[in-house]
Amino acid sequence: MSGRQKPYFGILVFPGTNCETDCYHVLKNLLKVDCKYIWHKEKRDDDINAIIIPGGFSYGDYLRSGAVAKFSPIMSFVRDFAQNGGLVIGICNGFQILLEGNLLPGAMLRNDTLKFICKYVNLKVEDINNPFASGYRKDEIINMPIRHNEGNYYINNDGLKSLKKNNQILLRYCDENGIINENTNPNGSVENIAGICNKERNVFGLMPHPEACCEELLGSDNGLKMFKSMVSFIS
């Protein structure tokens, strides 16, 4: 990890990434935190102390989402960075890339509705003992948009047990009262899972877009605490 004391975020850019400027806006303009873009052909970057893999359609996602991006040169750096305890958050397509790259367990399937879904959903914060959700209350219900074709999270039974045992499930889809069931599951994800972290709790992937809900004007500012949590962790 970098020796820098101040937070400095690297935002990965693959061809087809399309939420990089949205993340940049939140960090730079709303939180006044340093950040920069990192092109996927780069081999490493020693300035940064947190990585964001933003949403989009890396390489068009014509194969499985994230299946091509995992071979990009920068990904081996991401792996090393994570292994050394660096903070990595993958949002939407970024989550899919982390799954494809085996930085997080499980896989992503097509939404069970067979359609792209863009809408605000309610999420329950299941765990706050991690660098990404520490700013929320446990069981807090937050409002964030989802925007994906393939957000139907799948993991086998053993994997699921392990996720639960280690409190790796950070976010689940629910209704405004926190009820988690089939009716509040937008895409068919196993047990309404919306976001998970690794056992070491430094790599986090989620389908909702926290960067899209950091200002009241846009309908919700519930995403801001997620970025603030990360910033305070590395400050």
Binding site: G16, N18, F57, G60, F116, K119, C214, L218
Partner: protein, 750 residues
């Protein structure tokens, strides 16, 4: 010598869509017979799609200047100055024919094409809107298929590009059954000093092709789009292009990077008629000649012959004007993104358009004969016969009485809000990413879409509207209403209209009745634009929207942009708090009896009486304008909490929408007897807006209305969780939401 060059052009020109007189004119232009390659080039450049030969003479009468206008019609897209060295660039375009035969790719490439028009001007696309029309869904699997695939095509393309699709409209009417309409509008934001044009200049400069390789897709697409649909259209599926949004995203980023680094001198998108049209247009604008070398064009299929290369409509290609000394830098940027970059042409001073294959000269055409000297037609026009009968129709007391005896007011209301033309289009917009770029200040479902401009206080509002039924009954008034309604929608969120784009969809201009419709609606747009002070900055004409000889309703679609100086003042249509007063401003809920009844061409008439007939609603543009100014003023002064215009479905639907979006009930009392309630609730008379406000502002609002000479009428109060209208309609807001939000989903999942 190439085989196709030996084809007998005298037998081929008709197959390419050229008329006898046009073939003669070509020979005159050249002073000889064209070869097949030259003939192909003329056929695409003189197609209706590229030349606007039937509409040019009329379109030039549009008001195209105004205080915000930086660029009117004539470029890839129009440009408006929004202050702070910023400009917005936008245009709407049709992709009807391709979508009718291959809805997914047809719609997708329609989006792709219009987006390229925007970044060709040096702007980053910031949002898209669309206007879609199909036959009725219920019980028609084919219409459902078209609808489903068009929406998917638009979604997949825009979502992958990372451009939010933030608004639009969808209508269902049997007139569009054989010829759906897919009109797409794209909007970009640019630094004023980084705008670029598509003109070729500088003898010796290169024309550089950037993006996809060229394949056989979309050959003769422009000619296809200039013909009616019939049994043979199915066989023209190969004329429909195939889209690759990922490639387009990369091409977009490359072009913007090249512009940012000032490496290119001009940029043009490659759409209909491919390399031919884009390069010819660049040359014509710059009054220069061009040498094109087809051997330099990267191909998907090596066996492609020159005419195929020249008119292929392969997507995701751009043509840039580059100083030869900077070509290597341009190539380096393209390499970084792994896309093609080849110099395929050179600017010359001989005003000839010459096509080479290596050293071999294959064709030679004077540039201006392909553009300025293309044929212009002044078609015959005649008032169509159908008008006499349909316009004289009107409902009589007995019709209303029999409907009232059949259904309760509650039942009629529920049917209205569940009609696919009225209900929520949530099923559509939830398939579009409408939030990416994080600027969407008003989520879909309101009167306008609103995009805030980061780092400023400003926001830009957009509204898209058309009404084929009104235009069918009266193309002049119908077109006026389309313009007025977009401006009214903008006023409801507090935006001042700056300019508009139009997409004009009609049948065959060669039929006098159709051309009469076209001419009258153009006159209507001209009138409305002048009175409301909104210039036309770009647009598109789509003719030959007919299937099996039957034309669609004349359907001009208008997309208008408005400025909100401070996004804090933006307003939505939703009722906010309980206990607020609800006021109708503008024309009264029940007319004085002198004007049209507002039932002609209405959704109510079609839904319950299965008729598209009667008189199109009247509109007084002077009054309309006063209403808009008043509404904007009320919003700016913080006097009101919501504003929603009365349009399709009448005031009952307006009230229902304000209730459901605000999750607030209302107690409404309209001063009318029960027997006249249907007319009062469902008439579509113009110039009306329903506002809500704290009671304490009532006097201030009244005096503003009086100053503006706009009528006001207190019609109720927000309260509880039920909408109650004259004690005849009583329905919980939750039930309204259930019906209104899920109506399309219900039909589509059947």
């Amino acid at each position: 010598m190439n085989l196709v060059l030996m084809l007998d052009v005298g037998k081929e020109y008709k197959k390419l869509g050229l008329k006898d007189n046009e073939f003669l004119k070509i020979q005159k232009c050249l002073g000889r017979k064209p070869n097949y390659l030259e003939l192909s080039i003329y056929s695409v450049m003189w197609s209706e799609h590229c030349s606007y030969k039937s509409s040019r003479a009329l379109l030039k009468n549009f008001k195209t200047t105004g205080k915000y206008v930086l660029q009117g019609p004539g470029e890839n897209a129009g440009i408006l100055d929004i202050g702070d060295n910023q400009a917005i660039v936008f245009k709407m375009e049709s992709h009807n024919h391709p979508s009718a035969v291959e809805p997914y790719q047809g719609a997708a490439t329609g989006i792709g094409g219009i987006i390229r028009d925007i970044f060709a001007m040096g702007a980053r696309p910031i949002c898209s809107l669309n206007s879609l029309r199909f036959g009725k869904l219920y019980g028609d699997e084919h219409q459902k298929y078209l609808f489903e695939m068009v929406v998917k095509g638009i979604g997949d393309y825009g979502n992958c590009m990372g451009i939010p699709t933030v608004g639009g409209e969808v209508y269902f009417d049997e007139t569009y059954k054989g010829n759906c309409l897919v009109n797409a509008m794209s909007v970009g934001l640019a630094q004023k000093d980084k705008l670029i044009k598509s003109m070729a200049f500088g003898i010796g400069n290169y024309l550089v092709l950037i993006g996809s390789s060229t394949g056989r897709d979309g050959i003769h697409g422009a000619t296809f789009a200039s013909d009616e649909l019939n049994e043979e259209s199915e066989a023209r599926r190969p004329s429909v292009q195939v889209g690759d949004p990922f490639m387009e995203k990369v091409v977009l980023e490359v072009c913007l990077e090249l512009l940012d680094k000032k490496m290119i001198l001009g940029l043009q998108d490659m759409g209909a008629a491919g390399i031919t049209s884009s390069s010819v247009e660049m040359a014509s604008k710059g009054n220069v000649g061009l040498d094109i070398d087809v051997a330099m064009v990267p191909l998907r299929e090596a066996s492609m012959v020159p005419y195929e290369i020249m008119i292929s409509e392969s997507q995701e290609r751009m043509l840039a004007l580059v100083d030869p000394s900077r070509l290597f830098e341009v190539k380096a940027i393209c390499d970084k993104w792994n896309i093609n970059c080849e110099s395929i042409g050179t600017v010359t001073d001989n005003s000839m358009y010459r096509i080479f294959k290596g050293e071999e000269l294959l064709g030679e055409i004077p540039v201006k004969t392909l553009t300025d000297e293309a044929p212009i037609y002044y078609h015959k026009f005649e008032k169509p016969k159908y008008l006499e009968t349909v316009v004289s129709f009107s409902l009589v007391e007995n019709d209303y009485n029999s409907l009232r005896s059949k259904y309760s007011h509650n039942e009629i209301f529920k049917k209205m809000i569940s009609s696919p033309n009225i209900c929520s289009k949530k099923w559509v917009w939830e398939q579009y990413d409408h939030m990416v770029q994080t600027n969407t200040a008003l989520l879909p479902g309101h009167d306008s879409a609103v995009i805030r401009i980061k780092d400023t206080k400003k926001a830009i509002a957009f509204s898209c509207d058309g009404n084929g039924r009104y235009c069918y009954l009266d193309p002049y008034k119908g077109a006026i209403i389309a313009v007025a309604e977009t401006a009214r929608n903008l006023a409801c969120c507090g935006a001042v209209p700056m300019g508009l784009t139009d997409c004009l969809n009609y049948g065959s201009p060669e039929k006098p009745g159709i051309f009469w419709q076209f001419k009258n609606s153009i006159d209507g747009i001209i009138k409305a634009c002048e009175e409301l002070d909104i210039p036309v900055i770009s647009g598109n004409v789509s003719f030959y929207n007919e299937s099996f000889g039957k034309a669609i309703y004349p359907t001009p679609v208008i997309g208008t942009a408005g400025l909100i100086k401070d996004v804090k003042n933006m307003l939505g249509v939703d009722f906010k708090d309980s206990g607020d007063i609800i006021i109708l401003i503008g024309k009264k809920s029940v007319g004085s009896g002198n004007e049209t009844d507002g039932i002609g061409g209405s959704e109510f008439l079609e839904l319950f009486f299965d008729k598209v007939a009667g008189k199109c609603p009247d509109i007084d543009l002077f009054y309309e304008k006063a209403l808009h100014s008043l509404c904007i003023d009320l919003i700016k002064n913080g006097l009101i909490k919501s504003a929603h215009d009365v349009s399709a479905g009448g005031i009952a639907v307006t009230l229902a929408e304000s209730c459901l979006l605000g999750k607030t009930g209302a107690k409404i009392n309209i001063d009318v007897k029960e027997k006249d309630l249907l007319k009062a609730l469902y008439n579509e008379n113009q110039s009306r807006i329903v506002i809500s406000a704290s009671r304490e502002n009532l006097e201030a609002i009244k005096s503003k209305c009086e100053e503006s000479r706009v009528a006001y009428e207190e019609i109720g109060t927000t309260s509880g969780e039920t909408l109650n209208i004259n004690n005849e309609i009583t329905i919980s807001v939750n039930e309204i939401i259930g019906l209104y939000d899920n109506a399309i989903e219900k039909i589509m999942s059947k």
